[in-house]
Subunit: 386 residues, 2 copies
């Protein structure tokens, strides 16, 4: 097991009606609140009205930042930073899914520095040491942003979608009510679930050590698979929805990531698909995952075999490790298809292969997975995903 | 899934040589340090010398509290409280296992109040709102105290061993070096492992909900079983030792406890065994676990069947649920025996049954497991464990 530091100070308030505890959390927060949200989720389930009332009853001065888009842009973050500076905001309440929360994390950092946030966090790759405090009310699951220090922003001018990390942007609290996800459109729900599965696999498919993080990871994968099969048929099944919601959070709060190397190359590829085609993040991941894993599995054969047997219940008797491993990847692809995810770039809405070379060239190569890729490899993976 | 609040702000510094990061952590802590430790563990592996040097180099004024015993007593905690008050201690460094850390948690609370800590925390059952900050250097695994707000103290005068919880006593940081456990005497190592297994089962054997916490729990149980089998044969296997150490911490940092009811009756019974016979905590748990589970399994048949199949690999084909469930409990008992744990009260060193009635009568009945016990039930379980 590799050495690590684990620190996660986010307080989670979980359950139906958890919004009832927002008022007591706000007592410890600043009085000039930026209320940030997306394009629709907050209006479902009466969330907007409930939050506005609690903020008013708590005596907060509210500045609203509506309209944060999926794949939140640097321009949108700059809009929020400007609002914070002009209105002396001292607390950010993010109501939405990962896009809203991620955008708020960039705003939280940018609001406290004179320089442009992109220059500091991305161009200079500096670690942000301070940020405005953030609280979140989660309306969509998948990114895990509600309980970590990560954010992903798309710089639309230079076509780069990239992440940053800072311990300063862990939310102070996150309110997770599984019933808020009941009315989520199926496409978004499935996209979020593909994102969760990809987060698990990105952490799983790297390293040679026998690691308790991977044992926990397999348990999460099986739980997500089992509960997703219920939720796609019965969207209002509370048990399924709550297991998916909490499972999604645990997936990316470092519990299954510590003590091992991690891959994250599928996310790098998808980030550039997103930067070029603005596709739904989870669907983009689903579209390239199987091709990527078929491309690299021989370099991590033991782990892909283990994945097939332990996660998908593939019977290894009388079969080679290659056959077992490929069967595991096929089961993953079949699962994505079963729940309505896109399993090719064409299904994702990409019209032709004309930009695949450019996307491959612009993809960040992390070199942390079982196989070290070249841009040529990425192009081959993208073509195999078409 | 039940509603819950999850909050765990302890920073974990994990890995061989992690003590090298103690100095930087101490920069954020007070200058009057109570250095608390037990009866021997700190002298192994050069830990004492290393810690003393780092404290001196950091310019700290050190007051030592040596000799904290297993099953730490209220009297020992009072000794530490007195030291803190007289020397204006503003930070406690606990170096040892759960007993040392638990004792320090009681000291941390008691040092900031005028009343006696036992009166406040136990007699009046008040929640401590403040405590001196604590850091830990872990030398033995099992209790999970390095990453939670729990502590167990034995009041030797009235023969009560009982726990308290306060969010104020979460350690600020905990340093976990798996190599510190290499030279742990086998008896202590095995006792700690029985404690971990019991912590997992106490959280697992309650509730009817299909819960991701239980899925994660099964993964931890399997990891502990697998790695213990390696560690008892090869005590210096770093992979096994690190999986056990981190697995032990995750077991009791709420990851597998949230969103469900929990049992904890085996711990209640063992606490009174400890109060009467000062036995090793984990060994006491191992001695009563199988009898307890045989006594209650019919009331949670589905879960005991699941435990047998998922954790122990029992093949359910052609067998009744009762048979499968009992086979799982038998496998647990066989595992305890295999690793050298005590599986009866007689092996634990209890000479005769004369005090079992008294122990049963003094046992706290939590009524949170599958079956609500009476004191008569506890007596029957103790007799079946003899």
């Amino acid at each position: 097991m590799k050495s690590f530091v684990y620190y996660n100070p986010t307080k989670i308030i979980f359950g139906e009606g958890a919004i009832g505890k927002l008022a007591s959390e706000l007592k410890n927060c600043g009085d000039n609140v930026l209320l940030a949200y997306g394009k629709g989720a907050i209006k479902r389930e009466g969330i907007y009205d409930a939050v506005i009332k609690i903020l008013a009853d708590s005596g907060k001065k509210v500045t609203e930042l509506p309209g944060i888009m999926p794949n939140p842009t640097a321009a949108k973050a700059r809009e929020g930073i400007d609002l914070c500076k002009r209105n002396k905001v001292d607390f950010i309440l993010a109501v939405g899914g990962g896009s809203v929360i991620d955008c708020c994390k960039a705003i939280a950092v940018g609001a406290l520095i004179k320089e442009d946030f992109w220059d500091v966090l991305y161009t200079k790759r500096k670690l942000a040491g301070k940020a405005l405090p953030i609280g979140t009310v989660l309306t969509m699951v998948g990114t895990g942003s509600e309980m970590n220090g990560n954010a992903v922003i798309t710089n639309e001018e230079i076509k780069i979608k990239a992440g940053f990390y800072s311990p300063a942007v862990f939310p102070k609290f996150s309110i997770l009510d599984p019933t808020y996800t009941y009315s989520l459109p199926t496409y978004q729900m499935v996209s979020g679930i593909c994102d969760i599965m990809s987060h698990l696999m990105e952490q799983y498919f790297s390293g040679k050590d026998d690691n308790v993080s991977d044992d926990l990871n397999e348990a999460l994968m099986k739980s997500i698979i089992k509960n997703t099969r219920v939720a796609v048929k019965k969207p209002q099944d509370y048990t399924a929805r709550s297991n998916i919601m909490w499972g999604s959070t645990v997936t990316l709060n470092d519990t299954v990531g510590v003590g091992k190397t991690q891959d994250w190359e599928v996310h790098q590829i998808e980030h550039q698909l997103g930067a070029y085609y603005d596709c739904a993040h989870g669907m983009g991941l689903a579209a390239v995952s199987a091709s990527y894993y078929r491309h690299v599995y021989k370099n991590g054969l033991h782990k892909f075999r283990q994945f097939a047997v332990n996660v998908w219940g593939v019977d290894p008797k009388g079969r080679t490790s290659d056959e077992v491993a490929l069967e595991g990847i096929a089961r993953l692809e079949a699962f994505f298809r079963e729940i309505g995810a896109t399993t090719s770039l064409r299904e994702l809405g990409i019209p032709d292969k004309s930009k695949l070379g450019e996307i491959a060239e612009s993809t960040n190569l992390l070199k942390a997975g079982f196989k070290t890729l070249t841009h040529e490899d990425v192009k081959n993976i993208l073509e195999a995903s078409f």
